[in-house]
Symmetry: C2
Subunit: 443 residues, 2 copies
């Protein structure tokens, strides 16, 4: 099955006049689930009956002109590290088999207020960590869908849902979206409220994965306007509509991972940037400030895993204390590293991150957007785990928004083009991505 190519938020007039209904959209999703789910394994839990009831109610609201928002009736997949009061939330862990939260996470509560349907919970790696779930890549089931938002990416790619929620502590939204050939949006640090999300990382964010850029943005805005950002942070700002805007000043950011990407991906990206020059964008290839940024990222990249691993020692140790035998092998492997990374190491990494974020903010005067790959090539074989964090993790460390747009092909598989913007300027980044997306589809 293929994902619906028109954004859900573009169906408004058809919903109003009855040519199409949220109930029909839902049935298309259910047909995709019936066709693909057994093979792909994107969902940890599904509730088709509740979704049908809610879609029927949404259909009536649209027809009465009383829709709650542009996404009223939209079926959404929710990564299974995010609490839902009416569906189990198992965090990809046997320790939490059948675990039923009392209340919704902030983002889920917001989506329901906006009228969206929680069609199901999508498979995640264990605790959003390294131990993979059972999901397969829809483009080649011998490959990983990427992680940790594995099920969300695969569900969207197969048309089971138009949009899904994910989280990203390193590369967990951008990477699976790149591998599955869909759109992924990782907001500015703190931009979407993570209340009720199993996520202890200081640089993590809630993000969206969708079959269209418009829906990825609309779902994020629906959350931001109702649930706000993380405590202490401003929420993602903007209206739900994108205003495609050609970036005038593009910076090419190879990242310290450039050499790890296959030649064909690198060539496709540099060709693309050359063609963008022809359209009137100014592309900086090796500007001094970008070279310096690239070097700085190289200096700290090794600390990403240390920093996030240190933050995750709780809850992992507390889980091990009550159910060591129920933890996955790769999760247990991470537990063994305790002590190798100290509080002083952590303070130094946090301080380095703070400085780098300040330096990065100064680039805003020179660039509208930075562009790089979204992953180090296409999805690798499923046996190796969920793939390297290469390319995807830098924007997380920098705390800035990033989006991946499908556009490259390697080994017959999709690879995303990653656009990186500036903190708290998410709408501007998405507007540039919307322009690029339209331009790419017209080629």
């Amino acid at each position: 099955m293929q994902a619906r190519q028109r954004p859900y938020v573009a169906l408004e007039q058809e919903f109003r006049d009855g040519r199409l209904s949220p109930r029909t959209v839902l049935e298309e999703c259910i047909a995709a689930i019936e066709a693909c789910e057994t093979e792909i394994g994107a969902f940890a839990h599904l509730d088709l009956a509740a979704a049908r009831d809610q879609a029927t109610a949404a259909t009536a609201r649209w027809q009465r002109g009383e829709q709650r928002s542009a996404i009223d009736g939209m079926p959404i997949g929710v990564k299974d590290v995010i609490d839902t009061y009416d569906q189990p939330t198992e965090y990809g862990s046997r320790l939490f088999a059948g675990h039923q939260p009392v209340a919704d996470a902030a983002c889920v509560h917001a989506l329901r207020e906006a009228g969206a349907l929680i069609l199901g919970k999508t498979v995640t790696t264990e605790f959003s960590g390294a131990h993979p779930g059972r999901t397969k890549n829809p483009h080649d089931t011998s490959r990983t869908p990427g992680g940790s938002s594995s099920g969300s990416a695969a569900a969207v790619a197969t048309g089971m849902v138009p949009a899904a929620l994910g989280t990203q502590a390193l590369a967990s939204v951008i990477r699976p979206a790149s591998y599955c050939g869909i759109y992924g949006y990782k907001p500015s640090a703190g931009g979407l409220n993570r209340g009720g999300v199993l996520d202890v990382n200081s640089q993590s964010v809630l993000g969206t994965l969708a079959a269209t850029l418009a829906d990825a943005w609309a779902v994020a805005v629906a959350i931001a306007t109702r649930a706000g950002g993380d405590p202490g942070h401003g929420a993602v700002r903007g209206t739900g509509e994108l205003r495609p805007t050609q970036p005038q000043r593009i910076g090419f950011l190879p990242t310290p991972d450039w050499s790890s990407a296959p030649d064909d991906c690198r060539n496709q990206l540099t060709d693309l940037l050359t063609r963008l020059t022809d359209t009137g964008s100014n592309v900086a290839w090796e500007a001094a400030d970008l070279t310096e940024l690239n070097d700085s990222l190289g200096d700290v990249a090794e600390s990403y895993l240390g920093l996030t691993g240190y933050e995750r020692r709780w809850p992992l140790q507390a889980y091990a204390a009550v159910g060591h035998d129920k933890l996955g092998e790769r999760t247990v492997g991470r537990l063994g590293n305790r002590g190798a990374y100290s509080e002083d190491d952590y303070r130094a990494a946090v301080a380095a991150r703070h400085r780098l974020r300040q330096d990065f903010a100064a680039l805003r005067g020179d660039y509208d957007v930075l562009i790089t790959l979204a992953s180090a090539g296409p999805a690798p074989a499923i046996e190796g785990g969920t793939g390297p964090v290469a390319f995807g993790s830098h924007a997380t460390f920098l705390g800035v928004p990033a989006v991946t747009v499908p556009g490259l092909v390697s080994q017959g598989l999709p690879v995303g083009i990653q656009l990186i913007g500036f903190h708290d300027c998410d709408h501007e980044l998405l507007d540039h991505a919307a322009w690029l997306d339209t331009w790419l589809r017209a080629q």
Copy 2:
């Protein structure tokens, strides 16, 4: 019953040579529980059998010289907004009646690693908010114990436990400690890991309440060294031992709440400061920088409740969606305020807080410690709620450490002296408090 006056951490030699044992200390606590708990209502849940087993094991460790830490065997009360895998965690809410977390909160996991016993869960206001629990003030059962760490303060004041955990988003550690005549320590923002604590506020911290300053500090250090701080923050630093140090430069901070305190409290505090001058400390009464700080706090104090209320709209709205009829009256009252405070208001409050914190840090060159009242007089009548947040909330907004030391008496009831220090300099603050405490007891 009265609390044991010697710190648990001073019993080391007696534990080693068998003159005293953690098991004996526990039995003293249980005797206090049998004498007081029915009237005071400090505990939401108790597990005496498990505590006795663990105290017996700790006793054996001390006798073998294999104690895990200075607090091995210490009975601890845990505010019932903090997850425990072996005791229910009900958040003071009927909606969570019987709720059993899968794993321990970070702080509880750390305390168990250090050998401490979780004797029970202490009563909290609903979700640490405004709706009171059933606890009474041990000094006068017609008065509130303060909140939201109500049960923790009352349990310590009656000798049911030598120390307990609390949380403070506004004044919820300092206020109940002041009202109950015990020591309360609120660390620097981010200084103790809140993982597994029901707490969504950006300025909240986990804190300790204890019958002695030494135990309040030792428990905090036991957590900090094992579980670290909040993600993105350094942990409270220091050894577990206090080094009483006379502050040379004391700043008197009346706070914008000064006029709301009874005359006798104000006079006792100013008399105390005058006597401190005689001991050789230099007290600044109306220095320009403190007057400016006081004015700045007055300008923003109104926003404290708005800021914390905005951050709490989730989870309260999600709770209301699934169990409105199970929420307390005062909690429901807060839900009604939605919409009066906007995202722009919130961003402005967070920005103002950030600026004020930076300004406050500059005072470190001029003062070792600031001193003020810990509450606006003694505990008020229980019908009125848990008392005003006056005095206690400023250090929370500033993100700096604060400690309350019992020392004043009004209407025959205790009122605390609050010492406020500088961010990430918690050990220094506690050292000054230890000196003041020793000096006070010698008067």
